[in-house]
Assembly symmetry: C2
Homo-oligomer: 337 residues x 2
Amino acid sequence: MNEFSFIEYLKKTIRVPNRIPVGIGDDAAVLNIEKGKQLVVSTDAIVENVDFILKTSGRCLSLPAKRSNLRDRHAPKGLAMTALSPEKIGRKALAINLSDMAAMGAKPTAFVITIGKPSYITSRWLARFYKGLLKLAKQYRVSCVGGDFSRSKEFFANVTILGEVSSHHVVTRSGAMVGDWIAVTGTLGGSLLHHHYDFTPRISEGLFLAQHFTPTAMIDISDGLCQDLSHILKASGVGARLDLERIPVSADSKKMSHGNAKKALTRALSDGEDFELLMTVPPWQKMMLEKSWKKKFPSTPLTWIGKIEGKKPLIHWHFNQQPVPGPQLSQKGYAHF
Amino acid sequence: MNEFSFIEYLKKTIRVPNRIPVGIGDDAAVLNIEKGKQLVVSTDAIVENVDFILKTSGRCLSLPAKRSNLRDRHAPKGLAMTALSPEKIGRKALAINLSDMAAMGAKPTAFVITIGKPSYITSRWLARFYKGLLKLAKQYRVSCVGGDFSRSKEFFANVTILGEVSSHHVVTRSGAMVGDWIAVTGTLGGSLLHHHYDFTPRISEGLFLAQHFTPTAMIDISDGLCQDLSHILKASGVGARLDLERIPVSADSKKMSHGNAKKALTRALSDGEDFELLMTVPPWQKMMLEKSWKKKFPSTPLTWIGKIEGKKPLIHWHFNQQPVPGPQLSQKGYAHF
């Protein structure tokens, strides 16, 4: 199957809804934007040997190789390597982009995807990749409206996602204010076991927060809680107090740390790829949000982990109300190069 | 320089205009779309060893390696390899996307870019890449509004571009009708010499055509005239007659063919990366377009090369009014994998 017959295959596979006047197969796609909405755009790539490892035998082994220190020193034997199907890699390529939309309080609508295809990737493998990708796309009602193919030495998939948001609902990283509470969805750490590819993008949660409350800042945790909180602090020009005993440590983080609580906490702070929402909320909204959250999302925890304090973009660590030195992180998060 | 300090550098370098409420550095950018406009989106990547070759010594050698038959068999010695600066590679990464907007009759507004960065690419090299990219962006008034960085084994740059078009002005590939004239801008072939990186994206021409005329189909020539015309024919469900003596063969095509007219013509039909506009125009607009084109774009030829004929998506070749067999093309254009 060459590129053009594969595009034909995709055109047949992908149903483009009526609201998209021109879809796959032209020089560009054309989209209608709803009245009173703003356009939100974000891009995120996954790259072989960085975000996953492929085995050319047909079976895929995946590990976030970028977190190589986890693999080498901390991961229990036989756990770090998770056999990943092409469907799961396809799912992840879209899911990480949906997560960015969630962090803006935006509703994703459409995406384009560029594939870098090495010779050892078969059309069959690629069709399975698209199967995983398009299943998630259907679930979240986002349309694949175009893309590009290139040859490459290693596989990569770059998704650019488009979404809509009402201008008064958009949530950036830069609005956190002294006195705001800091909250996080779900539990953190140990994403390496399976969460990094099967996580649920927090689209509903992001939309709910943006439409019914006024979070002052929001980000999705991809690089690790510490690092992503630092992004908010720098963008907002504020500091934070974090209560270590409140950090929601995941069961996988504990599992990977063999019951060592300190190690598990460190993972929750720095592993990354949690794709949970980290936000700051005005103090007067805390109780109401807590109450309505439990009704709306009974199975997704929302945890208050600290407060915005001071003007320097630093994290002040507390444990049971006492200031403590910052935890020794094996790494402070992921640096992309 | 790590990723975050490089993003800081870019935030300072890139001025985001007021019409973009949220630019670089958040989870996503937010854009205002003008009233009565539709959003146009397209994505196109350049990949090392496919679209260019890098020399790690700091000097860059570039050739479209994908057209390896040109390099190996046809290119004059010492001509196939053109030393390309990082600025030129950066320029090309954006220019090929602008060309897609031109083909839709759209006005480009903003773009996001994903960089795959191997260890041998320095921050200094990347800064020069961005310099070339942003110079072209400024020229065409498109804003860089976000991106992603990843490590990778070979360098790649994937741009997703956004544009606007009035819904009654959008030009797709699928509207060509029997009786339409086929026209092409500029001259074709031999892009390997320099045109593939220093071409002028036909944005003004595309906008002019879409706003003042009603081209029934349009495409930019990236894969070669034959192949790109076939895309129009398939999408429109029509055939075409091409007049070989009318094809505007470029001086570079002749130069690369050492004066062999047949070879030069073959290049014009199949080399690709011309990034000229190929369009079909209703017969009653031909004279008026010809006249106003000469006034508006005196230095850019517009050449009538044939007509839409028949219902089968085939090209019928003519030379001086006589049917001739199709030319023997060394390749019919570029297949991406």
